[in-house]
């Protein structure tokens, strides 16, 4: 773990008294390696290590009897500052229905997360409606309908020959006539560089003005996480992130990169394939996982 590596690196100076510049450099190199191995974006790591360096050459580390522990403490603090701090509740509309729109790359976990979110809202006493706006992927609508059946939550669909904008609008009328106070709109996976598909999302956003746009990101995403998040955020002004598949052993550095580049909060984490597997995000847990 990073803590152990830093202990080793700085242990050689036990009894030496003060840290030298080279000692600090060595410690920072360990931090850089740990974050890169955890998939944090290269440029984000550079900026982050600079921040650590500014504090590491200060008294708190240089004159400490346990410099390694001090560095770890600083890294942890800076990581948590980056990861947490912002509110992670869903936006609720003052005029129902509240509309939540799930967006993201292919296979990231949008449809499954839509079902999981509907379940959480239902348990909170809400009347959610799932809306099937993925008209491209074979059996995407069927997939959402099966999840709805399992949860006894209604699924609005207009089949796969209609425009997602019309489906989104249709879900609004359906929600009002069926007393649903929250709509969770599932959209097709798409590339952030697919102009036509990104435009489609913009049109859906304009048509129904979602209260919450959630970017669904796979926790095992590598360096590209920054490109994806930045693009989706610039084009849609997302409200938050759902980080999926955290039940694996990916360190999840993408979470740090995405937060650093968009400033948007991670609101939920997917912790498994079952519909109950969605939890609130804990910045401190994520920080220690990234550090490894």
């Amino acid at each position: 773990s990073l803590a152990e590596k830093l202990q080793d690196t700085l242990a050689k100076l036990r009894g030496k008294g003060k840290l030298s510049e080279d000692d600090v450099k060595a410690a920072l190199k360990e931090v850089k390696m740990a974050l890169l191995e955890a998939d944090v974006n290269y440029k984000i790591v550079k900026d982050f290590v600079k921040k650590i360096e500014e504090r590491a050459v200060g008294k708190e580390v240089m004159e400490s009897l346990t410099p390694a522990q001090q560095v770890i403490k600083i890294v942890n603090e800076e990581l948590q500052n980056l990861m947490g701090g912002t509110q992670s509740e869903l936006n609720i509309s003052s005029k129902p229905p509240t509309i939540i729109m799930m967006v993201g790359l292919q296979g990231s976990g949008k449809t499954t997360s839509a079902g999981k979110l509907a379940r959480i809202l239902s348990n909170k006493g809400k009347q959610p409606l799932l809306a099937a706006a993925d008209v491209y992927r074979p059996a995407a609508i069927r997939q959402l309908q099966v999840l709805g059946e399992r949860l006894d939550i209604p699924v609005f669909s207009m089949g796969d020959k209609k425009d997602p904008v019309d489906i989104a609008k249709g879900s609004l009328s359906y929600a009002s006539s069926h007393n649903c106070d929250t709509i969770i709109l599932d959209t097709a996976g798409r590339l952030h560089i697919d102009e036509e598909m990104m435009e489609e999302l913009k049109l859906v956003k304009t048509a129904v003005e979602p209260d919450e746009i959630l970017l669904v990101v796979d926790a095992m995403t590598g360096q590209d996480a920054v490109n994806v998040a930045d693009n989706f955020d610039k084009k849609l002004n997302i409200d938050g992130i759902v980080l999926t598949k955290t039940d694996g052993d990916a360190r999840g550095g993408a979470a740090l990169s995405i937060k650093a580049v968009t400033g948007k909060p991670i609101k939920f984490v997917g912790t498994g394939e079952k519909l109950a597997d969605l939890e609130q995000f804990h910045p401190d847990r994520m920080a220690s996982r990234i550090l490894g």
Partner: protein
């Protein structure tokens, strides 16, 4: 790199940056650059352009395998497709099936994901679109039973190729990896009885970071992977993870996915891949 005046630390740092940002990973990047530095000494390389050309050739050697793409034997060929959730297994199966159907081969599919909502229907729709039969059972049935039925059916109907879909699973889920081993055992046993060949393809998503190495290791330990399919290369991710995987496990990279349609499948071409890595 060609605009540079000489080979210096800055050049190597820039190279490190390109490789790490391409998801080649810290460990593999450092190993590659250390080797490169030695070669610069031994081969007395002075020009950055010569260095890059040399490096491209070294990477090509690493990534090359005599088996880009997939070939079929003159018998029933069974391909089992595995990988973590959402990597692109089902779609890749449709692409491979479409390719061989167009070549006049007799192809059959098995809906081995009996767990996820809509999984069987998803493969059935692909089967309908391609005019290919899909062997399936009820959702919730035993994946091994579907595999067993499928091999029997493929042999009986004299198929050239049977492709078996499996449910996505994280390599860290021990019980699901045990299930996968069981399905593989059934397939191997049936293949032996029916003079069929078996190949396992691991699907890796190009957007994946260093976790791909762990995925490849554990899937390989469970069911011996014969080849890798790298999907979603039509995005902005470079897929450098395959450099690390090839370096550590020497599993051939056979195919790449470059889109969501049936024709979006290409044989892995190391030269083009390396070119894209540095672009």
């Amino acid at each position: 790199f060609s605009g540079r005046s000489g080979i210096d630390d800055d050049l190597f740092e820039e190279l490190e940056e390109v490789l790490i940002q391409a998801d080649v990973g810290v460990k593999t990047t450092f190993a590659l650059i250390e080797n490169l530095k030695e070669d610069v000494e031994n081969e007395d390389i002075k020009e950055p352009e010569v260095l890059m050309d040399y490096f491209h050739k070294e990477l090509k050697k690493l990534l090359q395998d005599e088996e880009g793409g997939i070939g079929l034997d003159d018998k029933l060929n069974i391909i089992m497709v595995v990988g973590v959730n959402g990597a692109g297994k089902t779609t890749t199966i449709a692409k491979i099936a479409g390719r061989f159907k167009e070549q006049g081969k007799r192809v059959m599919l098995a809906a081995g994901d009996t767990f996820r909502a809509g999984a069987i229907e998803q493969l059935q729709i692909w089967g309908d679109r391609l005019g290919i039969n899909v062997i399936s059972q009820q959702e919730g049935s035993d994946a091994a039973a579907v595999a067993y039925d499928a091999v029997q059916a493929a042999k009986a109907r004299e198929m050239d190729l049977l492709i078996i879909d499996t449910a996505g699973r994280l390599h860290t889920q021990k019980n699901l990896m045990e299930e996968l081993k069981k399905v593989k055992r059934i397939i191997d046993a049936q293949a032996a009885e029916n003079n069929a060949s078996v190949e396992v393809l691991l699907v890796l998503d190009a957007t994946t970071g260093q976790n791909a190495i762990s995925q490849a290791k554990i899937f390989n330990d469970a069911v011996k992977v014969d080849g890798i399919v790298l999907t979603k290369l039509d995005g902005t991710a470079k897929g450098g993870i395959v450099v690390a995987v090839k370096n550590e496990l020497n599993i051939p990279i056979k195919l790449i996915g470059v889109g969501e349609a049936a024709e979006d499948l290409q044989d892995f071409n190391p030269e083009e891949f390396i070119k894209a890595l540095f672009s």
